[in-house]
């Protein structure tokens, strides 16, 4: 009960920051841009060609669900990584920098419990934010092209290609995928959270996290590393796309998420060890 009271306080702090709301605004702006690109005649022509080459009907798959999938794929990759790293990188380091932790440390709360509260808050925030992007993206897409139509999925990197002509099936798969993205993005937040627990500036925690992810992504693209791609964090984080495969391969998905959960626990533990042994001078 007390844990939830503390968690509520942590979420209250998170949502009281102007930066948090600026993030929502930034995502909506990005969704609008993607939607505008989709509406361009040239884009529609390109998509029509692609669908018809694969024997699919443009009228069925040029839909709000397909646009929502693209919005989630692109906005999470382009903006999500930066934004989650920024929020999670701030969660401990910023409070230390601002001196708020001094007042917290005058309270009878253990450092482990404090970090557990903060980590839970960041994870909840990350997970729910993905759904916000999905729902807001879908709402905008519905306003632009209507609610009907199926879902077309093409993700060349992970070799996923699928088409769901029925709306309910496509929507269900997309909701599942959103859950998967949420879990994947928690790993990104965990990396930033760990660095936030170290004796670094908040901006440094964010920059180091993004550097690690981008290096991971770049190295993964090298032919030399092809046989080892499953060891890369960003590859594992992309496992959510497998939820959109026509026939879901659960062992593949469970393996990836077990890898990510293990990684998240390790990152939290490292952050906690650093935080636990640090001196916080008054």
């Amino acid at each position: 009960m007390l844990f939830f009271q503390q968690l509520r306080g942590e979420l209250r702090k998170l949502f009281a920051r102007p930066r948090t709301w600026m993030g929502y605004g930034a995502f909506i702006a990005m969704e609008a841009v993607i939607l505008a690109v989709y509406k361009l005649e040239r884009s529609q022509r390109y998509m029509k060609g692609m669908l018809e080459r694969n024997g699919l009907e443009f009228g069925t798959y040029y839909s709000s669900l397909t646009i929502t999938f693209t919005i989630m794929l692109l906005s999470m990759f382009l903006l999500g990584s930066i934004y989650f790293a920024l929020v999670a990188g701030d969660i401990v380091a910023k409070e230390n920098e601002d001196g708020n932790l001094r007042l917290v440390f005058a309270r009878p709360i253990s450092r482990l419990r404090l970090l557990l509260i903060k980590y839970t808050a960041v994870s909840l925030y990350t997970f729910s934010f993905v759904f916000f992007v999905g729902v807001s993206g879908y709402a905008m897409a519905v306003a632009a092209v209507g609610w009907e139509g199926g879902l077309f999925v093409m993700e060349p990197k992970m070799k996923v290609f699928a088409a769901y002509p029925e709306w309910w099936e496509g929507a269900g798969r997309l909701a599942m995928a959103a859950g998967g993205i949420g879990l994947s993005m928690i790993t990104l937040s965990s990396i930033a959270f760990m660095f936030s627990c170290f004796k670094v500036k908040p901006a440094a925690a964010t920059i180091i996290t993004l550097t690690i992810l981008f290096v991971d992504m770049i190295l993964q693209g090298f032919p030399f590393f092809k046989p080892y791609e499953s060891y890369f964090v960003t590859w594992r984080m992309s496992a959510w796309v497998f939820l959109l495969e026509q026939n879901i391969s659960w062992p593949k998905i469970i393996e990836s998420y077990a890898f990510l959960i293990g990684l998240n626990i390790s990152l939290f533990t490292l952050g906690w060890l650093s935080f636990q042994t640090r001196d916080f001078k008054t």
């Binding site: 503390q6 509520r8 209250r12 001094r102 007042l103 917290v104 709360i109 916080f280 008054t282």
Partner: protein, 298 residues
Amino acid sequence: MLSVNGLFKNFSGKPALTDVSFHVGRGEIYGLLGHNGAGKSTSLGIILGMVMPDRGDVTIDGISVLKDRSKALRKVGAIFEAPAFYEYLSGWDNLKILMSYSGGFDAESAAEVIDRVGLSKRVHSKVRTYSHGMRQRLALAQALLPEPEVLLLDEPTDGLDPEGIKWFRDFILNLRDERGMTVLFNSHLLAEVELMCDRVAILREGQRVFEGRVSGLQDDTPVFEVDLAPWDLACGLVKSAGGDILSTGKVSLPHTMDPATLVAALVRAGIRVRAFSPVRRSLEDLYMEILNGAPSPN
């Protein structure tokens, strides 16, 4: 109530505390003095479990802070110089969040404490709109809300105006008188420490170099400011009476000597006594003597 036992702490090989010990009894106000970097804040950090000592321990009501920090700090409230609240939240929300770390928030008790510290009208405003004095009042409220038995004050009156300082002092003294609260007061404002504290310790370069009662500062050899003429003749008489000439116009007398007897003897010897008044030895004098190894100029 609060025992600091043989603390040692090095930062990057540089000693910050060397064998610092002191004990603060229940209902006592204890002052911790020292120049910047003397180890006051490090001591406070160790008491609160923010800084890990290399050696030594701190117990609060018999509970070790190192072994069971959460239990030990249940009876502790702390105020820091320039307390950093969450600026984007109201004072009330800040209290709610901080109290959730102390076992839960009770709106009724909070309203009572807020009223007591005189912040009722502004408690729902954002902290970023608060003056320094209001922040200190909020700091006091957050420290008092868990109903502590020990209050740790780290430079709490720095930056306050004289009115604010007096209000703060009276408030703390009332708390001690009404609730028997134990207070550790860390400050640069020697006059404040003298007015508030029962005992003081002085730290120099991480070592405790003095501990004593504030009321006992006058117990040493009394010093008098005098205006006597002729001075040379008067000096002879003072010396023959067992006194000492400290400088022109300043003499010290042994404890056993009644100054009135000396004044009478001086008058009888035909010396004009224009002034003969005791010099009160302040905490500042003692502090300067200890830290500089010489008496402060008067």
